[in-house]
Structure formats: structure tokens, C-alpha cells
């Protein structure tokens, strides 16, 4: 069976004031793909992810999510089921207990009363605990999130994504502030979950090594353009060298 196209970008362009952030990008990503986004700082990786997440408006071009234009999705439940985002560890609410941060993935489905009540007595607790179990943090469910280490916090963010259960996961530098051992740990867990749930993953990474180790396809950006878009096994050292070359050496 042919897997369906989850994301299709047609000539998308984005400017910040006069600077070009994304210059006419086109690509398509199928369900189940694990795509790594690499490239030098300022190449437009974060901007591209934010565009797909609908957080920044495009200047021109079209983005299709599951063959529907991005604009047709309203914020809320339907969109939350389509796309979920994970970033560096800074995107959890620090003073809340871990379990509430995990259950925040359910907010799109809950009404206000239920979500307020849940702050007193956690609702759908089993769901959250199962998710925490899978990231190995079940025993920390009732601890204050800021007391957890960086790697643990990133795993809490993953548990939240599992509860939200979107079809596409966008990960923006998910391991940027972690040491190599924790980073390996987090990426292995993330890709395993994505494969099990038949989700689609796009992750921006600063490390080529991780991109090769965990992902099936690599898209590289340079100065807002696609430099190469290849299956992982076809990415050569020469190409990578050229990608990260500084301008002065051109």
C-alpha cells in the first residue's frame, strides 16, 4: 500500500522584514517518514518548522497538510490531532507538577471546567501515567517539573506529545541543550515512539551524526534554500562539508 502524503510544500517563501528566511521551498513528506532538517545556524530550519506548525504566516506559496491547505485548519482540536510540536526543554510549565504538563496534551479536547478540575484531581490519569511509563518517568508524575533534569524534562515533553497523539510531530532542536548520552536517549525514544504510532517526524538538528543515526531522510537548508534532499544513505561527506562551509571560503 502506498502511504499517503502528509506534508506538501509548494514554493513556500517567508521574509523577515527585508531578509529572506525561506526562499521558494518545495518538497513533500509521506506518512511514516523520519526527516532530519540540518544546515548552518540561520539557514531557516526553525522558521520552516514554525511555518508548518502554523505559528508564522507565509509570504507566498502553499502548504498542504494531509492534502488540505494549512489555512483550512482552525486552531483547536482538529489541528492539535494533526500536528504536535516539541522543542528544547524550555517549553514546559515549570511550576506545574509533571502530570499536569503531560495532561496539557489533552487541553484541546477538554472543556474549561474539566481542565480546571483536573488541576485539583488529575483527569484521565491512566492515560498520562501510561505515557510517563513509556518514557520511564512514572514515579515522577507528582514532582514539580523544574526539579527534573534537562533530559527528564524532554521526556516529559514527549509524554505530553503521546497524550496529544498528533499524526505529525515537529521537533525543533529537541536535544540542543542535552549532553551526548541524554541526547541519544531522547532521540532513540522519540523515533521509537514515532515508528510504533505510525506518526511522521520532522526534526531540526545541529548534529549530522544524529541525523544519520536515527533518520531515514535528510533535508538540508542553506540561506533559506534546500541544499539537498536525500535518503540518509546517499548523503556523502563531501556534500556535508560543502553545506557547512563558511562564506569566506567560497
Amino acid at each position: 500500500m502506498m502511504s499517503k502524503t502528509m506534508i506538501e510544500a509548494k514554493n513556500i517563501t517567508k521574509h523577515f522584514e527585508r531578509k529572506i528566511a525561506l526562499s521558494s521551498l518545495s518538497f513533500s513528506i509521506k506518512q511514516g517518514e523520519l526527516v532530519a532538517l540540518i544546515g548552518p545556524s540561520g539557514a531557516g530550519k526553525t522558521t520552516l518548522l514554525n511555518s508548518i506548525a502554523g505559528l508564522v504566516p507565509l509570504r507566498s506559496g502553499q502548504l498542504l497538510l494531509d492534502s488540505l491547505p494549512l489555512e483550512d485548519y482552525k486552531r483547536g482540536k482538529k489541528f492539535a490531532k494533526k500536528i504536535g510540536v516539541i522543542r528544547q526543554q524550555f517549553d514546559l510549565i515549570g511550576p506545574l507538577a509533571v502530570i499536569h504538563n503531560v495532561l496539557a496534551g489533552k487541553l484541546s479536547e477538554w472543556g474549561l471546567i474539566k481542565s480546571l478540575f483536573s488541576l485539583l484531581i488529575p483527569q484521565e490519569k491512566e492515560l498520562a501515567l501510561t505515557a510517563l511509563e513509556r518514557v520511564g518517568l512514572r514515579d515522577k508524575a507528582y514532582e514539580i517539573t523544574t526539579t527534573l533534569s534537562g533530559g527528564e524534562q524532554q521526556r516529559v515533553a514527549m509524554a505530553r506529545l503521546m497524550v496529544q497523539n498528533p499524526e505529525i510531530i515537529l521537533a525543533d532542536e529537541p536535544v540542543a541543550s542535552l549532553d551526548p548520552a541524554r541526547a541519544d536517549d531522547v532521540l532513540a525514544m522519540l523515533t521509537k515512539i514515532v515508528l510504533e504510532e505510525k506518526q511522521t517526524l520532522i526534526a531540526s538538528l545541529h548534529s549530522v551524526e544524529y541525523a544519520r543515526k536515527y533518520f531515514t531522510r535528510i533535508i538540508s537548508l542553506k540561506n533559506g534554500e534546500i541544499f539537498f534532499d536525500l535518503p540518509t544513505e546517499k548523503v556523502s561527506d563531501e556534500l556535508l562539508k560543502e553545506l557547512y562551509q563558511l562564506k569566506e571560503q567560497d
Binding site: D91, I93, G94, L107, A157
Partner: protein, 545 residues
């Protein structure tokens, strides 16, 4: 040209400090410095007051009266604060614009609700009290509402600022998970700010105790009332007894708020009944007790406030303020404006003098008052006198800030003749303790490494101060000076009530003669001052950054 602008940039803070110093010296010229400043009997009065301080009156009847009025003061403060929190929460959230999605409606809601908060906090609680008493008579609610309105304004503004300063990433993440605006508020914004908000509220609660004490000066009960009575009878020993009650109350609240803040910063969760829950329980009991006391003990009914008679009074009063049915409104008269603006100018001078005096005293005392200098941690030097000196100055600070400006003014007015100087001194006496405490905390929070490095390199204490400590703390010191100056500006009118010059004195006269339009005129001038102070300090603060 480049060189000049470069050196201007480099010495910006130094030049600014010189400028502020020059303004202070200029303000001193408004006083005629001669023996005419004192009352003939000023010196003997000082001796009597000091005698009372050394030998306060501890008769059982006085102690009992002190205890009872301390409770009244506390109850009014608690009730007022509880209303203020409700007001601050609702209006603060609206003023932060976190609930609105569209840019346009967000700007509208920000401007509108921030305007409301700004207006309510620009008028001093004592003036609110006076207005309420004039409008609805002597009811505890006059005191409670008078506290709740300006304190709610201050809390609400800080709350809105906190909500606006929340880090963006967690909020975007919650939004990306598909939550609604209200869910974002309860799962994102509130958990992120509540610890800071509670800390700030506790700090404000301490101020509310002092404000509540001075509510007595418009005829509402409490510690201030007892102080006022004792002063009128020239019983200085009893005056100090009540002042000590007030200080004790402030210290208790300060201690509690210290505990709460410490509990909030330590993230560790303990099993069982932690200090946090005890505080919550205590606060609940305190709030319930205060309201029960006020509604049952003092037999005050909220609906009585809205009785027909009161509505009639209020209508006359506020109508009078607007100049309805009056032939010659003071605020339409050029001569009245000239006179009022002259008073405004004097008040401005008084506030500058006050912050100047306070700054000088705090500057001279702050170094030994910092804990890390007293125990030698910062400078790696320690003398036997450091710790006693530290204790003494800290005690002085507590003493200074626990006594409200108004009480200081009432005592000083026995020594000095009415005018700007006693007002400035009273304000300075209250503020140097606050300034000193805030500054000492800045020094305590400093990164000790650069200073230790200097000390290890053999720098003397004076050298360490000018090369290490001052450059690091100066911006924060300046910020606090300006912040206190804003507060002093709001309070100038209050010390005027007891004859310490400026707008306040005329305000009291106008109140006594029911000269409504004159009141309006003076209030307008006062608000001009507050706006000037806000603007000037905001600009200077930006320049220091």
C-alpha cells in the same frame, strides 16, 4: 565629535548621578535656613519625645488598648487586601491582554484597563479614605475600600506586567497543543507567575498594615487613632507604646512573608503538611476572621453603605467635586490655579528633598548593613564591630520603615514650624529604612567573585567599594531611588495633612470648609505631580540601563 559622544556614553551614569545631585541641592534652596524653622519649645519637646522612647508606658490599660487597636488595624488591612487581590486579579488579567486574540482588541483592552489601574493607584489610600468618609460616613467599609482600591491598582499593574513577561516557549507549546485562551491562562500563565505574585502580594501586605494604621487620621479606628489621641494629650510615653505595637505587627507580617517567599523559592516538595499549606490555612483563617469581625463585631453592613441617605450624601459630594450648582468653581479660576500650581511646585521640591535626605542616610549606612559584608564573606575582612553594627543599622531600618510617614510628620511638627522641611524630614525618616533595606539586599545578591578577587589583590575597603561594589550596584541603587521617589510623590499630600506644607495642607483646609471645587483642583494638581514623577523616573530608568 565622536570622542565626546563616546565619553558621554561611557560616563552616562556618572553624569546622571551628578545631575540628580544638582537637582537635590537646588531643592534645598527653597528653604530659608535659620532658627525660624524651629518652634521656641522645640528642643524641650525633642527631649520629652526621646524620654518617652526610652521609657514607654506599659500600663495594662494602654497595653490592652494597643492590642485591641492592633487587631483592628490588622483586620482592616486583611479585608482590604482580600478585596484588592480580587480586583487586581480580574482587571490585571484583562489589562495584560492575554485573553484577547486580535491585535486591535488587545491594544484597546490594554489601554483601557491599564488606565483604570493607573488611575486607582495614583490616588493615595488616605485620600480615598477621606473621599469615602465624606461620601458615606464613618464606616469600616470606607477604610477597607480605601485600602482595596489603590492596592488593587498596584497589584493589578504588577500582575499584568508579570503576565506579559512570561517566557514565550511554554505558552507557544501549550497553544500548539490546541488549548483555548482560558486554558492557556490556567495551565500556562498562572502557574508561571503565581509564585512571584504571591511574593509581591505578601510584600504589599506589609505596606497595607501601615496604611491601615493611618486610616485613623480620617476618623477610623486602629493604632493610628491611639497614636493621634496620645499625641494630642502630649503623652509621648504612650505614643511610643502604640508605635511599638505597630512595629511589632509589621515585623510579624514581615517574618511571615519571608517564610512564604522562602517556601516558594525552595522547590522541594515535602510530604505532609508543609509550611506552604500552613500559610494557606493561616491566611484563610485571617481573612475569615477579619471579615467576621468587621461585619459582626463592628456591625458594619455593606448594604447600609448603599442606603438612600448615603446615596444622597455621595451625590452632593461628588456633584460638588464636579462643580455642579456652584457659582465660582475653583478649577475654572485662574488665580486659584496659580496658587495651586505654586503649591504643586513646593510639593515637588519637598519630595526631592525627602528622597535626597533618605538617599544620603541610606548611602552612609548601607555597606555595614549588608549581611555578606558584615560577616566578611564578600571582602574577606572581618572586624569585631561588624556584626553589632550590622544588627544596629538593620534595627534602625526596621524602626524607620515601620512607622508611617504621617506618624513621623505628626511628631516632627512638634519640633519644626509648619513648612516644607518637616514634611521632607518625615518622608525621609520613613524612606531611608526602606531604601537601606532594598539596597542592602542588592549588595547581598551580588556575585561575590569579582569582589573577592579585588580583595585578594589587596584592595582596601574604600577601593573595593568604588572599584567593585559601586559600579555593579549603582544601576539598581538608582532604580530604587527613583522608585521610592515615585512613592514619596504620592505621599507628599498625606504629610501635608498634619501641617507639613505643600498641597496636603490646602487639601485638608478645603476638606474642612467643604470647598468641593478647590478639592477637585488640588486633586488635579496632585495627579499632574504623580504623572510627572512616573514619567521622569521612567525616562531616567531607561537612561541608566
Amino acid at each position: 565629535m565622536m570622542k565626546i559622544s563616546l565619553s558621554l556614553q561611557l560616563h552616562k551614569r556618572f553624569i546622571l548621578s551628578l545631575l540628580l545631585l544638582a537637582v537635590f541641592i537646588w531643592s534645598l534652596t527653597s528653604i530659608h535656613w535659620n532658627s525660624e524653622l524651629f518652634h521656641a519649645g522645640g528642643i524641650p519637646t525633642i527631649l520629652q519625645i526621646v524620654e518617652g522612647l526610652i521609657k514607654p508606658n506599659f500600663e495594662p490599660s494602654i497595653l490592652l488598648a494597643g492590642l485591641e487597636s492592633a487587631w483592628t488595624t490588622l483586620a482592616y488591612a486583611v479585608a482590604g487586601m482580600s478585596l484588592a487581590i480580587v480586583y487586581a486579579f480580574i482587571v490585571g488579567v484583562l489589562a495584560s491582554g492575554t485573553l484577547t486574540t486580535r491585535k486591535f482588541s488587545r491594544i484597546i483592552s490594554k489601554v483601557f484597563f491599564r488606565g483604570i489601574l493607573g488611575f486607582t493607584r495614583s490616588i493615595h489610600e488616605l485620600i480615598w479614605a477621606w473621599l469615602f468618609v465624606a461620601a458615606v460616613g464613618l464606616s469600616p467599609y470606607a477604610a477597607i475600600l480605601a485600602l482595596a482600591i489603590p492596592y488593587g491598582g498596584i497589584l493589578g499593574r504588577i500582575f499584568a506586567d508579570m503576565l506579559n513577561d512570561v517566557p514565550g516557549e511554554p505558552i507557544i507549546a501549550i497553544k500548539a497543543a490546541g488549548s483555548s485562551r482560558l486554558q492557556m491562562l490556567f495551565y500556562g500563565y498562572l502557574p508561571l507567575v503565581w509564585a512571584d505574585f504571591i511574593s509581591y502580594t505578601m510584600y504589599r501586605f506589609e505596606c497595607a498594615i501601615r496604611s491601615s494604621a493611618i486610616m485613623s487620621f480620617v476618623g477610623l479606628g486602629g493604632l493610628g487613632f491611639q497614636i493621634q489621641l496620645a499625641l494630642a494629650d502630649l503623652k509621648y510615653d504612650a505614643v511610643w507604646t502604640f508605635v511599638f505595637f505597630l512595629i511589632a505587627l509589621v515585623i510579624c507580617v514581615d517574618g511571615w512573608s519571608h517564610l512564604v517567599r522562602k517556601g516558594l523559592t525552595d522547590h522541594k516538595r515535602k510530604k505532609g503538611l508543609g509550611s506552604g499549606w500552613i500559610s494557606v490555612l493561616f491566611a484563610t483563617l485571617l481573612i475569615a476572621g477579619s471579615w467576621i469581625y468587621i461585619t459582626i463585631g463592628e456591625n458594619a453592613r455593606l448594604f447600609e453603605l448603599l442606603s438612600e441617605k448615603n446615596m444622597e450624601y455621595a451625590k452632593t459630594f461628588f456633584g460638588g467635586l464636579l462643580g455642579i450648582n456652584q457659582d465660582d468653581s475653583a478649577f475654572l479660576d485662574v488665580e486659584s490655579w496659580v496658587h495651586a500650581l505654586k503649591l504643586t511646585f513646593e510639593t515637588l521640591e519637598m519630595s526631592i528633598m525627602a528622597i535626597g535626605f533618605a538617599t544620603i542616610v541610606a548611602f552612609l549606612t548601607v555597606i555595614p548593613a549588608a549581611r555578606n559584608i558584615a560577616n566578611g564573606n564578600l571582602t574577606l575582612k572581618k572586624n569585631w564591630y561588624n556584626l553589632p553594627l550590622f544588627g544596629f543599622i538593620r534595627l534602625l531600618y526596621i524602626f524607620s520603615r515601620s512607622v508611617p510617614e504621617l506618624v513621623w510628620a505628626m511628631m516632627i511638627i512638634f519640633i519644626f514650624k509648619p513648612g516644607l522641611l518637616p514634611g521632607a524630614l518625615a518622608l525621609a525618616l520613613h524612606n531611608f529604612g526602606i531604601l537601606g533595606k532594598l539596597w542592602a539586599e542588592v549588595v547581598e545578591d551580588m556575585d561575590p567573585r569579582p569582589i573577592r578577587n579585588l580583595a585578594a589583590a589587596g584592595a582596601s575597603r574604600i577601593e573595593i567599594f568604588f572599584y567593585g561594589i559601586l559600579p555593579i550596584v549603582l544601576p539598581r541603587f538608582l532604580t530604587y531611588i527613583l522608585y521610592r521617589w515615585e512613592v514619596i510623590m504620592r505621599t507628599t499630600i498625606v504629610v501635608g495633612f498634619v501641617g507639613a506644607g505643600g498641597l496636603g495642607m490646602d487639601f485638608k483646609l478645603a476638606m474642612s470648609y467643604f470647598d468641593y471645587t478647590q478639592i477637585t483642583l488640588l486633586l488635579l494638581c496632585y495627579m499632574i505631580l504623580v504623572i510627572i514623577a512616573d514619567f521622569a523616573s521612567e525616562t531616567t530608568r531607561k537612561a541608566v540601563k
